[in-house]
């Protein structure tokens, strides 16, 4: 008897033969009238068993998974366990209090604030007021919703709601935790937290029941699991076996799920095995963060306390979320089209007639099973071109769709310039394009997909450029997308030629004009690169020409149609294309003798070429400072502790520090081998201090770093170093973050004022316009707060301008001097640092009264820059002229 009791006590949940039947009336009785009518009619209803005779036990301290497809009875079972549904028959024993978390929520009231909802739900879960008061801060902290806690729940996103709900559920401290698809929502960071919390639960001998159709998480975290199918237990046992069985049952489901896993892995760049490590790092970061905020920025703390700041933060956050979802609102784009694209046809025709150089353009269009309505539009867009010396080379890759063939036949004799070839057997896109190339006779080649359209002025604009410079080999232009209803959206305004951007994503894309002789020379398209065959083509093409023969037209000349399955519709549609692109890029490295290799970038469709660092060059990190020892300490120790590349020295330049603490700290640093301390005793002049320090540097590479920065990742230095070692590169900049994980610097764009940091205050997770935040690319300048350059170049261009630009813009000026000598400036998002700059910039106007001297200096520096770099600032080659100069978000220029 006692043994039996013991056995019982070990079970957290014991279920015996439970069933649940639902009645599905044919007509739901929901009003008195229908109830009344139904009295006289015979009631007709079906019944169905959500659960049939289910029995199982869950032991205390077990992590138990329940798998099953939709409608298999998982949620019903969970609701019965939670006590929401009553039993029809059977026996249920639960030892311990249950904390349910069903259908992604625990019953929040949308009209109440987060705070009230916490109190309500924690009470529902059995906490008394005193306990809630004690745990409140911890609940809020876990959910990371400090700033939104007094906002109504209805304003929360679903992710925020889940975070809050989960946080309350785990703080209820009950013995049994029921979880329904928690891991499905929430970002990677939150998932890590969940899992950690589950593990804590398990460790304290509590029971977790996890319902999911994500087999990966079941396999990874559950001890035991069972499969439910149509309300019955299909299999119960050790998690691994059960999962295998489940995979067998439905291979289709498995594929989908695995896809999902790959997706999340790719997107978040997080290896699940390293979750715990990452979390620790994150915690450490947070600690450092608090330290810094407390010690340094009273100003921020003060502002943070004010309501206005809070509101602004929320506003900025929402704004950035909104922006990242849809970079450019379509309404803006409509206005842009109206302002920029009203063309005078007769004048254009006249102009074309006056042009001397009128080469033939061959359009290459492989056709395969395209819907006739799109093909007609496509061909019409070529036929109606203002510039008429073209030929359209259509190659049908043995379409099986009869309508397509019929449509092609229709065009066969329509115009002598349209050449149509019919292939006998299906090859693939690359070979089909090559077939079309064979019949092309033009001087230039343009690629057009069989369901896309050209702008009517497309060739005219290109020819205009060629008439100015006949030597140009490669012209690319901007593009947008066509909705199925014909509406134009998502314009992509590209920067001028940027080799590093091309190595990160296929940005030149459409519409591109290639010189045919070069295409013949490189042998056209290559088999094995299907889906990215044009990427491969461009990569091989640019090796045969040089950057002076590449031109960019800042006009929308090409429209992708968002057809389902086409790459325009969704990036996920073609993952084999990504593989091919990676292969093409790797071969580019091989051909050009670059040691290194490519991996996927931070978002799908982007790539990262990681170059090997040749040799073991030494880097000198120059950090000027004056007192503020806490800040400096934070910066220096983060470098010493985190940096994985070891061959560096830190040069601290002391600019008249007075405090005792500073000198004692410096003394303590004396022992460290790779730290040198210089004293610069004149008044503060950022340019002069750095120039002075460079004189003491013997190593090849110099990194200028501000004292209010903090290293986050070990790779930061090597990620920058791999680019500065390239002989064509003059300077490298990093991704800098404000203390609240928003963007402080990710390249510099000229012409926003004098020069400004684009995407400022964007969320760290956001990729920015066309992903520019998260790809390696070229800019005209990068910030001096973290700037890696070569010593030889630094001396060659005369360093920072200490006479005219003592404080501001000296970094931009320096970069522009490098650009003048044709060196590239590279921005890399793989080097991330904090830069604890005050968020409250832009007080220049107040300065006029507060500090007239400083104001005068700022004005002077501004004027100096304006005059010296007038032309460059007017048109930043790495910023499209159609983008705004009023904001930092790459939105459309509506003027």
């Amino acid at each position: 008897m006692s043994k039996e009791n013991e056995q019982k006590n070990k079970n957290a949940i014991c279920v015996k033969n439970i069933s649940k039947e639902f009645i599905i009336p044919h007509e739901r009785v929901n009003t008195l009238k229908s109830a009344f009518i139904n009295l006289f009619n015979k009631k007709t209803y079906d019944s169905f068993y959500a659960l049939k005779d289910v029995s199982f036990e869950v032991k205390k301290g077990e992590f138990f998974g329940i798998l099953g497809r939709n409608g298999s009875g998982k949620s019903t079972l969970l609701k019965i366990l939670a006590g929401v549904y009553s039993l029809d028959n059977g026996f249920l024993e639960i030892n311990g209090l249950v904390s349910p978390f069903l259908e992604l929520g625990i019953g929040f009231n949308p009209e109440l604030s987060g705070r009230d909802n916490i109190y309500l739900n924690a009470t529902v879960l059995g906490l008394c007021k005193k306990e809630i008061d004690e745990k409140f801060d911890s609940i809020v902290a876990f959910s990371e919703l400090e700033r939104f806690i007094d906002q109504k729940i209805k304003k929360y996103s679903s992710g925020m709601q889940v975070r809050l709900a989960f946080s309350v559920a785990i703080h209820a401290n009950r013995e049994i935790l029921l979880m329904d698809e928690v891991l499905a929502v929430g970002d990677a960071n939150f998932q890590i937290k969940c899992i950690n919390e589950f593990e804590k639960y398990k460790a304290s001998g509590k029971t977790v029941i996890l319902v999911s159709h994500d087999i990966a998480s079941i396999e990874r975290y559950c001890d035991r699991a069972m499969i439910l199918e149509n309300g019955e237990i299909k299999k119960i046992g050790v998690a691994k076996e059960v999962v295998d069985e489940y995979k067998k049952i439905n291979s289709l489901v498995q594929e989908v799920v695995i896809d999902k896993i790959i997706d999340t892995n790719l997107n978040s760049n997080i290896d699940h095995l390293k979750l715990n490590e990452l979390l620790k790092i994150k915690e450490q970061e947070n600690k450092n963060l608090h330290k810094i905020i407390n010690s340094k920025n009273q100003e921020i703390a003060f502002m943070k306390a004010s309501k206005f700041w809070k509101m602004k933060e929320i506003y900025e956050k929402l704004k950035s979320i909104f922006r990242s979802k849809k970079n450019i609102s379509n309404k803006d784009y409509d206005i842009w089209i109206y302002n920029n694209e009203n063309l005078n046809i007769s004048e254009i025709k006249k102009e074309i007639n006056n042009l001397n150089y009128r080469p033939k353009i061959s359009i290459i269009t492989p056709v395969y099973n395209v819907e006739p309505r799109w093909l007609d539009k496509c061909i019409n867009s070529v036929l109606n071109q203002y510039y008429e010396n073209w030929e359209l080379c259509l190659y049908d890759d043995a379409s099986t769709n009869k309508d397509t063939l019929k449509c092609l036949k229709k065009w066969e004799d329509f115009d002598p310039r349209i050449k149509i070839l019919f292939g006998k057997e299906n090859k693939n896109i690359s070979l089909a394009s090559n077939e079309a190339l064979k019949i092309a006779t033009g001087e230039f080649i343009a690629l057009l997909d069989n369901d896309d359209e050209l702008s009517l002025n497309a060739f005219y604009e290109n020819i205009k450029v060629l008439n100015i410079n006949k030597d140009i080999d490669f012209i690319y232009s901007d593009e947008d997308k066509l909705e199925l209803n014909g509406k134009r959206s998502d314009p992509f305004f590209k920067p001028d030629w940027s080799i590093d951007l091309l190595l990160s994503e296929m940005y030149t894309c459409h519409l591109s004009l290639y010189r045919k002789s070069i295409i013949d020379n490189i042998g056209g398209f290559r088999k094995g690169f299907e889906g990215s065959q044009d990427y491969d083509l461009v990569l091989r093409f640019i090796e045969k020409t040089n950057s002076s023969k590449i031109f960019h037209i800042s006009k929308i000349l090409y429209h992708w149609r968002k057809v389902v399955g086409s790459t325009a519709g969704s990036i996920n549609a073609k993952s084999y294309a990504n593989e091919a692109a990676k292969k093409a890029l790797n071969e580019y490295f091989e051909r050009n003798n670059i040691r290194g290799d490519f991996s996927y970038g931070k978002f799908k469709g982007s790539y990262r070429g990681k170059r090997e660092i040749l040799g073991n060059p030494k880097v000198s990190i120059i950090i000027p400072f004056r007192d503020e020892v806490q800040v400096l300490k934070n910066c220096v120790s983060s470098i010493l502790e985190i940096t994985s590349y070891k061959n560096y020295e830190v040069i601290l330049v002391d600019n008249n520090s007075k405090e005792k603490e500073t000198s004692s700290y410096l003394e303590s640093l004396n022992k460290i081998e790779n730290i040198n301390i210089l004293k610069y005793e004149k008044e503060f002049n950022f340019s002069a201090i750095n120039n002075f320090a460079v004189n003491f540097v013997k190593s090849e590479y110099i990194l200028f770093l501000n004292n209010d920065t903090e290293v986050i990742e070990g790779e930061w230095l090597s990620s920058m170093l791999e680019h500065i070692q390239r002989k064509e590169v003059g300077a490298v900049g990093a991704k800098l973050l404000y203390f609240n994980d928003t963007i402080q610097h990710a390249g510099v764009v000229l012409g926003l004022g004098i020069a400004s940091h684009p995407f400022k205050k964007y969320n760290l997770n956001s990729h920015g316009y066309a992903g520019f935040l998260d790809v390696i690319r070229n800019y005209s300048a990068v910030t001096g707060a973290c700037l890696l350059t070569k010593k030889s170049l630094f001396l060659e261009v005369g360093g920072f301008d200490e006479v005219n630009l003592p404080i501001a813009y000296n970094d931009v000026d320096f970069c522009l001097k490098l650009r003048q000598k044709n060196y590239l400036i590279v921005y890399t998002p793989y080097s991330i640092l904090y830069h604890y700059e005050s968020l409250s910039r832009g007080f220049d106007e107040d300065l006029k009264f507060k500090n007239p001297e400083k104001y005068k200096r700022v004005l002077f520096e501004r004027n100096y820059m304006e005059n010296k770099w007038k032309e460059v600032i007017e048109k930043d080659t790495y910023y499209n002229i159609n983008l705004t100069k009023e904001r930092e978000d790459f939105s459309i220029n509506l003027k």
């Binding site: 311990g96 009231n109 109190y119 009470t123």
Partner: protein
């Protein structure tokens, strides 16, 4: 079986507090409405019946006091039953997403109107001061007992109708109409004495009318009902209350599936 919730008192109070917040959030005057609403109602009815219909006269100088007392009790009943009836539906998210003893939800909603009634009693006291009328001690005690009985009636009604309302959403409309009938079938705007004797007897069969009538009689005219009548009322309400709880227990089981 499933281990139940233990901290009922706290739970019910938290639910009531939530209700209270929800009801007045977003309105500019906020909690002032608790007092303002019956006052405005009173002013309108008082104006109509005191002045136009001439209810306030030498035989009935305390008509405004009677009106106020009766009105408050009726409001208490009307709001309490309405809130109780709709409680489960309005808190559907608590019913379907987690386990809460469902009677606490119903009770929590009615407590809210009890609270409002309590607040208004302060106003009523103030009224008695203005009209310089000091009710007898027994009158006050009986008034409180009647109030408690009225509350029991509200809870009993809610227990029966809350699960019903989940199924039949017409109930709220029907009840609204019935409430306005009840308002004029109870001696609120008129004293019972203006009715013929036989009609008085019929009207007093309605427990609401009975409670209202004798509450204000006790407070103002120091006039009470017999022990016999009172005990019938008392026991029948207690009986109905207990019965309603069992009915509720029976019907609440399926609520989560229908809601």
């Amino acid at each position: 079986m499933i281990k139940k919730h233990e901290n009922y008192r706290e739970l019910v109070l938290r639910l009531a507090k939530t209700d209270f917040k929800l009801r007045y959030h977003g309105s500019t005057l906020g909690y002032v409405w608790v007092i303002l609403k019956p006052l405005l109602m009173f002013s309108v009815l008082n104006f109509v019946f005191s002045n136009i219909f001439g209810m306030r006269n030498s035989t009935n100088p305390y008509y405004p006091l009677e009106l106020m007392t009766a009105l408050l009790m009726f409001q208490f009943f009307a709001e309490g039953t309405m809130a109780g009836m709709m409680s489960l539906v309005l808190k559907a998210q608590l019913v379907t997403k987690t386990y809460v003893p469902r009677w606490t939800i119903v009770l929590g909603s009615t407590i809210n109107s009890l609270f409002v009634f309590g607040m208004n009693l302060i106003v009523l006291t103030f009224f008695f001061f203005i009209y310089d009328k000091m009710p007898s001690f027994l009158g006050i005690i009986m008034f409180l007992i009647y109030s408690i009985l009225l509350y029991l009636l509200i809870v009993a009604f809610s227990f029966v109708t809350a699960p019903l309302f989940v199924r039949f959403r017409d109930l709220s409309n029907i009840w609204e109409v019935l409430l306005s009938i009840l308002m004029y079938a109870s001696p609120i705007v008129y004293p019972l004495s203006i009715m013929p004797i036989y009609a008085q007897k019929i009207l007093l069969l309605n427990p609401l009318a009975f409670i209202i009538h004798f509450s204000k009689q006790g407070l103002i005219s120091n006039n009470f009902t017999g022990f016999y009548n009172f005990s019938i009322l008392f026991f029948s309400i207690v009986f109905v209350f207990i019965l309603s709880f069992f009915i509720f227990k029976k019907y609440e089981k399926k609520v989560a599936e229908i809601i």
